[in-house]
């Protein structure tokens, strides 16, 4: 597949802050590419560099194989959906959508037709004459999308476009956005700090940390094989085993992650035969949290760490789960589910570590 965007040695420093630090990245044509990471990790800056709102401190930006590093935003075949939508408040919805065509001097009839088409794509037919302030958040988001799409750019950049919406609306927009991307076939570069959003929508995900890419992978790889404790902690709930606990439970030194849903909880009596294929740990249920579709049990291992176990609520009654509170249990998981972490480069952000079970740690200090 040809390359839509290619970043080479890209850096952007603001004074002492290395917002983006020597980045190399290729994004393929037609890809739904997400950038995920905590606040301040440089996602927006990368997007702005691609769009041309910032000039890189070092490095090169290629769009469709052409170097555009020095070019101003209006000379790049890229469009952006801004986090706050940036819809022109003094124009009607139609005028907003037509704007890009108008400045390119597309004839009136033509641009009217294309604008209607774009509005249809985002399912806003008939809203053309409204003013932006007459729209709800979700509708505004779609106007911003139509305004960008109507120009048929090579690449569409989206900076947390769903950040301002409530959960319900957000889920709907996720599905819709993905649908539109499939329909128009444009490369999407999507910034978010919501891991679930990134997982459901993306072809590939880059996890950012302090201006660098911590891991670049498909959603499944990312979730199932996090490259570092940082990624493991940032994407999904992770149970970290390390030091003496790891030695005790896993039987070897190092850092290991096991996802809550991979762990089964058994009554102590039901201990499986030692087959070398599974890890087994004994512990006490400290807390049972009902999530609707699933139940999380927080278990203090006798060996020292605290693990979260997820259990799908296939039954209508969760009384059984709740009754386990305070009981002794046996946790069992396949060794296949155990992910050994490579470099111990970053502090696991928000993962439940052995010492401070449910303590929150800010990742935006």
């Amino acid at each position: 597949m040809p390359t839509a965007i290619s970043l080479r040695g890209l850096s952007k420093h603001f004074g002492d802050v290395k917002a983006v630090d020597d980045l190399d990245l290729d994004i393929a044509d037609g890809e739904f590419f997400s950038m995920l990471g905590p606040s301040g990790s440089g996602k927006t800056t990368v997007l702005r560099l691609i769009a041309g709102f910032e000039q890189p401190t070092a490095g090169r930006i290629e769009l469709g194989g052409k170097d555009v590093t020095g070019r101003p935003p209006f000379a790049r075949d890229v469009n952006t959906v801004f986090q706050d939508y940036a819809i022109f408040p003094h124009m009607s919805v139609r005028q907003n959508v037509e704007y890009g065509l108008r400045v390119k001097r597309v004839p009136r009839a033509d641009r009217r037709a294309r604008a209607e088409e774009a509005l249809a794509t985002v399912r806003l037919e008939g809203y053309g004459d409204r003013r932006p302030h007459q729209l709800s958040g979700g509708q505004r988001q779609r106007v911003a999308l139509a305004r960008a799409l109507v120009n048929r750019p090579q690449v569409l950049l989206l900076d947390e476009p769903l950040g301002a919406l409530d959960l319900k609306l957000r889920r709907q927009m996720q599905i819709e956005l993905k649908q539109i991307q499939r329909d128009v076939g444009i490369t999407f570069v999507f910034v978010t700090h919501d891991q679930e959003e990134a997982l459901t929508m993306s072809d590939r995900i880059a996890v950012f940390n302090e201006g660098r890419i911590e891991q670049l992978a498909t959603p499944v790889e990312l979730y199932e094989q996090p490259a570092s404790s940082f990624v493991a902690g940032f994407v999904g709930t992770s149970n970290l085993l390390e030091g003496p606990v790891a030695r005790d439970v896993v039987g070897s030194d190092g850092q290991f992650v096991v996802r809550p849903e991979k762990v089964s909880m058994l009554a102590p009596a039901d201990a499986p035969a030692e087959d070398g294929e599974h890890c087994v740990a004994r512990g006490t249920v400290r807390e049972v949290v009902y999530l609707g579709a699933a139940t999380h049990s927080v278990v203090d291992l006798d060996a020292g760490a605290t693990l979260t176990v997820a259990h799908q609520n296939t039954d209508r009654s969760i009384d059984a789960a709740l009754e386990r509170r305070g009981q002794q249990v046996l946790l069992v998981w396949s060794r296949d589910s155990l992910v050994p972490l490579g470099g111990n480069d970053a502090v696991p952000a928000g993962s439940t570590t052995g010492r401070q079970p449910s303590s929150p740690e800010e990742n935006t200090p």
Partner: protein
């Protein structure tokens, strides 16, 4: 609040009532006889119409000139200058407001005179001073009221989110297109807010025109001559209703643009 409501409006109302009285020309005493004579004079005598139109034209011109001058500098202040420089510039713009109006006007009189600074500087380039008259009046009024235009526009541009500029550039709008299609329309209420000041201050001015206006006179002079000089308060009041009406119409129009929130 109460003072404003009752006293100020009361004062204006009393003024209007006065305009319906007449005056004994010789003694200057106001006779409380209801009459529309003052207004009849105002409408039937050509010269007042001429002066009214001239005054409105000058005020409008001053406003336009100020807007043209203020917009770029406000743009520079709001979107180019560093925060430090921004503060410095705001002060630089505010400071001339404290220097005396009269002194500034006289300084301009000196500059505009035949051998003044403008002629002196312009001579090598074949530029001559416009001399005293309406052009000079426009220049001086524009100079005097410029800060009142710069500050609201600056505040308006300051409030304009950067993302709108970026959105326009992103959609292919060059600098000029963006200015014309996005920035200007968005800053328009702020410009109107500034224009309320420049327009009304120009509308009521009678001092600058006396200093650099040559033979010209504006509505303010007529009011001043009649109240200060002829002591014909009723007629002065009648004349004064013209700028009041003009301003009220102007304010009503300005309100629609949302300018009043931008003052």
């Amino acid at each position: 609040m109460l003072w404003l409501g009752v006293a100020y409006l009361g004062a204006l109302g009393a003024l209007f009532i006065t305009s319906l009285w007449q005056q004994n020309d010789f003694t200057g005493a106001i006779e409380r006889v209801w009459t529309l004579d003052n207004f009849r004079d105002l409408f039937t005598i050509d010269v007042y119409r001429t002066i009214t139109f001239r005054t409105i034209a000058i005020a409008a011109l001053v406003t336009v000139v100020d807007a043209l001058l203020a917009f770029p500098i406000a743009l520079y202040m709001a979107k180019v200058a560093s925060p430090r420089l921004q503060r410095l510039l705001v002060i630089s713009v505010l400071m001339p407001l404290w220097a005396s109006y009269l002194v500034k006007a006289y300084a301009w009189r000196g500059m505009l005179s035949e051998n003044g600074l403008i002629a002196w500087l312009g001579a090598p380039f074949g530029i001559d001073t416009p001399g005293y008259g309406l052009p000079a009046t426009t220049i001086v009024l524009a100079y005097l009221w410029l800060p009142y235009m710069i500050l609201p526009i600056y505040a308006g541009l300051e409030r304009l989110p950067d993302s709108l500029w970026e959105a326009s550039a992103d959609l292919g709008g060059g600098a000029w297109t963006t200015l014309r299609r996005v920035v200007l329309p968005m800053a328009f209420p702020a410009i109107v807010a500034g224009s309320i000041f420049t327009f009304s201050l120009s509308l009521g001015d009678y001092i600058a025109v006396r200093i650099v206006g040559g033979t010209s006179q504006l509505l303010g002079n007529v009011v001043y001559d009649n109240v200060g000089a002829a002591n014909n308060l009723p007629f002065a009041a009648a004349v004064a209703t013209i700028p009041v009406v003009v301003m009220v119409i102007y304010l009503a129009a300005a309100r629609r643009t949302g300018a009043l929130e931008n003052l």
